[in-house]
Structures are given as C-alpha cells and as structure tokens.
C-alpha cells in the first residue's frame, strides 16, 4: 500500500501524545510499518505542536511536508488553519471547534480569525468539525477530547471498532479506561 499520512496538531499540553500512541498501537497491530514523530521540550509549553503519523508497507521519512497529509486531526480551530497547507489534494481535516487564544490575540496585537474553517471549506477543503470537548465532558471529562477526535479518524480506516477499544484498554491507565471508551463511542457514533 501507498504510505498514508496523518497529522495530529494542537496546542502544547492538550494531550495529543495519547492520540498518536493509540493510533500507532493500532496500526502496528495491523502489521503496518509505522513512524510517529513527536515534539517534546519548549514548544510543549502552550505553543503550536504537531505529531506526524505515517504508515504503510515501508515508511522512510518520519515527517510529513506540505501537500502530503491524508488527514489532519486538529485539537483547536486555529491550528487546523495553520497546518492546512500540509493537506494533500483531496485530504480531510478533523477539527475540534474549541478556540484557544494565542498570546498575540491575548495581548490584543491581533484578532482570532472569525470564520477560518468556512474560509478553508470555500477553498474546497473537506472538514469534519466537531465539539470534541463537549462530547468529552459528556463522557465524563474534557480531558478525553483527544480520544473523541481519534474516534472520528478511526471511522476513516478499515480497522474494526473492537481493535480501537482494545488499544484503549491496553494503553490507558485502568481508572481512565471507561471514560476513554465512552468518549470514543460518542465520537464514533456521532
């Protein structure tokens, strides 16, 4: 198979590492060659962060560049727009509708764009916008927004539902398993 490219983007501290860990575990169990490239260190402190996930028969580069991503999973609206140029022709953005103001907006140097997703859609970008935070709260905690978003991505893959649930059970600490399974269910069946 041709290598598939998924980017998980968001704001440092939003918990994108769990989403990439679950995704990596599922893909590995499917017998794929997988590479996942993460960001640690300074940019984790509230900066824009990106994780690259690539899988296929044989994967070389650990990173994704402009025009290559099949899917961008964004934990925040502005971040979806920031990384949109990485999307390939016909690719899709799965985005949490939450807004987190970056410092230039906070200090009033600039404004948070008003309809950035609409603008991307008008340019032909496929967008699956969901209130992942709201669904996660419904599941028991806003912290599970990452798993809600992952569930939307999971629907695009030819992998049985049970495999994702098994990965959650194997990866997540026991006291959070139920929360994450519920969050995954809510997103998947939206």
């Amino acid at each position: 198979m041709e290598t598939k490219n998924v980017m998980i983007v968001g704001v440092g501290g939003q918990g994108s590492l769990l989403a990439s860990k679950l995704l990596g575990a599922v893909l590995l169990s499917e017998g794929k060659d997988v590479k996942v490239s993460e960001v640690h260190g300074m940019s984790q402190r509230g900066g824009s962060v990106v994780t690259y996930v690539r899988f296929g028969d044989k994967v070389y580069s650990p990173v994704i560049t402009e025009g290559e991503a099949d899917y961008i999973v964004s934990f925040e609206k502005l971040e979806a727009a920031r990384w949109a140029k990485f999307l390939k022709d016909g690719g899709e953005i799965i985005v949490n509708t939450q807004e987190i103001d970056p410092m230039p907006v906070i200090i009033g140097a600039t404004e948070y764009p008003s309809d950035i997703l609409g603008e991307l859609e008008s340019k032909g970008v496929k967008i699956d916008a969901i209130d992942a935070y709201g669904l996660a709260v419904k599941a028991g905690s806003g912290k599970a927004a990452n798993v809600v978003l992952l569930s939307r991505l999971a629907k695009k893959f030819d992998v049985p539902y049970e495999k994702w649930i098994a990965a959650i059970e194997k990866t997540v600490a026991p006291k959070f398993t139920e929360l994450n399974k519920k969050a995954f269910y809510l997103g998947y069946n939206l």
Binding site: V34, M42, S48, E68, T110
Partner: protein, 577 residues
Amino acid sequence: MKKLLIGNEAVSRGLYEGGLGFVSSYPGTPSTEITEFLAKYDDIKSEWAPNEKVALEAAFGASLAGVRSACAMKHVGLNVAADPLFTLSYTGVNGGIVICVADDPANHSSQNEQDSRHYAIAAKVPMLEPSDSAEAYAFSKAAFTLSETFDTPVLLRMCTRVSHSQSVVDIGEREEIAKKPYVKNVAKYVMMPANATKRHVVVEERIKALTEYAETCSFNKIERGGTDIGIITSGTSYEYVKEVFGDTVSVLKIGMPYPLPEKLIKDFAASVKQLYVIEELDGVIEAHCRALGLSPVGKEKFTPLGEYSQKTVAEAFSLPAKKTVSADTPIPARPPMMCAGCPHRGIYYVLAKNKITVLGDIGCYTLGAQPPLSAVDSTLCMGASVSGIHGFLRADTEMKGKTVAVIGDSTFIHSGVTGLINVAYNASDATVIILDNSITGMTGHQQNPSTGYNIKGDPASKVDLEALCRSVGIRRVRVVDPYDLAACDKALKEELAANEPSVIISRRPCVLLKNVKTNPPLNVNPEKCRSCKRCMGLGCPAISMKHGKAKIDRSLCVGCEVCAGLCPFSAIEKEGD
C-alpha cells in the same frame, strides 16, 4: 518482539541489552528520555548528575572499575562534558563507555544548532549515527563491543527527529556482562605529561585502525540503484533520500561519521556519474570527500540551517512541488509561553514593572523574554546569568541596583553555583534570583540535587540552597513566594539597594507537578472590571480581553490569584464570592 519505540527508548533498550551497568546524565531535550527509560531497569544503576561533566566523569569512574557505562546529554551538554571527553580519548576504557549526544537542528528546544560530529573529530573518538529507532537500538547495543575492542569511548549521535520519532524495533535479550577486574595502570590512566604524550601515540594508532575498520564495518553500507546519481548520506537525511528516490539512486549510508572510510567513499564516487552529499547541519562528510580529492554537490545546494525533510531533497533535485491549499487570512503565531499559574510569572512581572535589566538563563523561565513581560535581556548558556552579571557590573558600576540575574534551581546546581562563588569572591554586589520551582521543568520534570529525590523518585540528599549561598560568602539570602507580588517587590528593592551581593530565592513548585494542588478557577466580575488591562500585563494564557472586559478561561486557570492581587478594582473573584 516487535515494538514501536521512540529513538531514545530504543537507545536505552540497546544499552540495556548491551550489558550497561551504570548511567549518569543531566537532562536536556532531546536526549532526556534515554536516561529516564534506563532508570526503569533495576539491573542498571542510574542517576541524574548535577551536570554533564560530572556525569561523564562518573561514567569514566564506573568504566575504570570495570563496568559498562554510559551517559546521555543534549548537544550543548557535550560542551560541558568536553573536558573529560578529550582526555578520556587518551586513557581509553576498561568497561565500555557510550556517550549519547542528541543534536537539535531547527532549535526545537535549544539555544544553538551546533553539530556534535566536530567533537568526534576533535577528540578523536569514534561516533555512530543511527537514522531510526531500529538502528538506534542496534548501534547502541554494538557500541560497547566497539568501545572495548578499540579501547575508546564511543559517541552515539542522535538528533531530535531520531530521538523523538517512534519506529518499529525488534528487541532482544540482555547480555549479562561480567565486571572486568580493575588493574592499576598508571601509564594508561594517569594523564600527566609524560604519560599523556605516550598515550597520544596510542590515540593516533587507534584512529588509523578505526579508519581501516570503517572500510568494511556494518555501520556503513551501500545500496545500489543505478550509476547516474550516487548520494552519500547519514542519519535522518538517509530517510529523506529514500523517501524521495526509493531504490532508484545509489546510496552510501554512513552509520559511523567518524572516522570516515577513504577507499569505500572513493570507490563509491567512482561508480556513479554525479556524487552528492546530503547531511544535516555542517558539511562534515563533504569536507572529508573534498580532502580525498572528490567534488560532490553538497552545501552549495543543501543548507547548513535547520532540519531537512523529503521536501528539502525534492527541491534540491527540482522535483515538482506538491499541490497545497491554505487560508488567506493571516494566522496569528502561537509561540510557547509560561503556563497559567507558573510561579515564574510573578517575579518576572515585578522585574518588568521596575524596569530591571535581567541576565537570564536556560529553562522554562527563558520564556519570560516573550511579550508582554519582555523581562529578559540575555540568554547564553547554562549558568551564564550568574557569571554574566558579575562581568556586567564590573564593567558598568552604574548598572548596580538596576540589574539582576535569574536562574532556575536545577541550572543553579548545574553551573550557577560556581558563578556565585565568583560574585562573592570578586565582590560585584550582584543580586541573583534563584527561581526555585523544585524540579527540572523544561525537560519534563526530572529530579535534581535540590529536590530531595533521586531519578527513581526515592528520597535523596537535598541541597540546602540558602545554606549553600551563605557558605560561599553571600550574607544576604532571603526567600520569597512569587505569588506574593508585594513581597517580591519589597525584596527586590531592598536587595538591589544593598552594598553587597545578595540572593533572592523565589520559591514555589512548578504548577504542573502532580503533587501540587491547584485551586478552582477565578472569575472576572464584568460589573467591576473597568477594562484597565492591568491583569493583561501578566501575560497569563488564561486571561484575555473579550468585548472590552477581562475574561478568564476556566479550562486553563488554576486559581493562583496573582491577577486578583493586581486588579485595582477587585474585579477578579473566587468561586462563590
């Protein structure tokens, strides 16, 4: 067993299986997880050292005693450990020594983009360079044999993309290596001039032998793919070359960037029409090729700046760019910043308000340089705030009373304390602020000698910072809570006015620590808010102006109340007020 591992975990697995008995490191992105993962193995003695020089010297000691040892550091950490490294090259080893050094092209979390390969050349020590986790594992495991066979420490060069990328590793079992006996050998281990002169001869012979070894060793390999284009590459650049060209060009993959082979490279060059060298950062392999009389295409086409990708390679070969789509609306930047409730914020606010010149240091608190606080004037390297303020005030006595140094607890232990001894000894009347958040923060919460816990989280001896500062000759030492802005302001003014050196310890644990209890989020009462924006001066990510009034993001606020204390109209209220 196949596992998906980040490069750093793969290194730790390789070192573990290779019979590692002792590891000592100082944390530094992107190297930190190597030692964190090693600490999970009970049959390895693992430690955080106060700095990289101590770490490497401890590894030398363990090697001398006959145990396979290692240390891990970021690229700039090797500057600190360079002193033992250069002479360790002369003494060689008893138990094998592997020094893992992680470069950070693109400065994801660093103050420069230095290329560690220059150290291998300068110290005449062999270096291995993996390009993914599978190689990181295999090279680390093999490094001990290389070290003991050639009686040399071995450098293992990682970079951010290899350290922090997960790829598939087929792991094996640990090799139990018996401790070698320690045998006193003055000629080998006592590097006084007469002995060192003789050992230098050994070093030169070793490099000759290693160069011979490089011709056929399994770390360097040729992948044939036609005779038009031949690419010599290494590390993560190899992955980008393969991503773009697959098997359609010939590749000489260098896994041992020092010493480089001669015949292997010349023969490869002769087998292709056009030779390229693709390597991140400096043209080290390219320079070697030129010294051999070859004329590859190298840095004239491939930048010495930042990280490469498949795009870098594709563009250099004029391959068509991929179609992209983007928004026309400008996207506001999202730089990293201090967290909501960060204890550094209060002290920086007071420094900024008093228009103090601040010599800064390395850690999360470097972020105090960002607007709106904009409170930091310099950041050079670990410890340079304390040493720097001394020189600054010696050169310009007018700045006394208007200048401070700020340094974190871990950085102070690393190399700030020597600067403080200089401040006391050479009497510069400097004021040094130790930002004691009781953890090594930026690298992801590692214990250090001032926290009272060791790498395993077990109780350990704790440096008494106040007593330490007093004992080096600082008589004025005081502690403030950075959430108490009035106390910070008072302490700052009094210490700056004093005619002797002083230390202010700004003490409050990092708000991200699991054992730190946070408070319910605060609210802005819109009826009381007069839109004066004073709270905005804190640069707290939880506070913004919405429809002309301050607003607090409940999902971010941890109830530190620093903003509440600042509001002249008492508009910021606790839950239930």
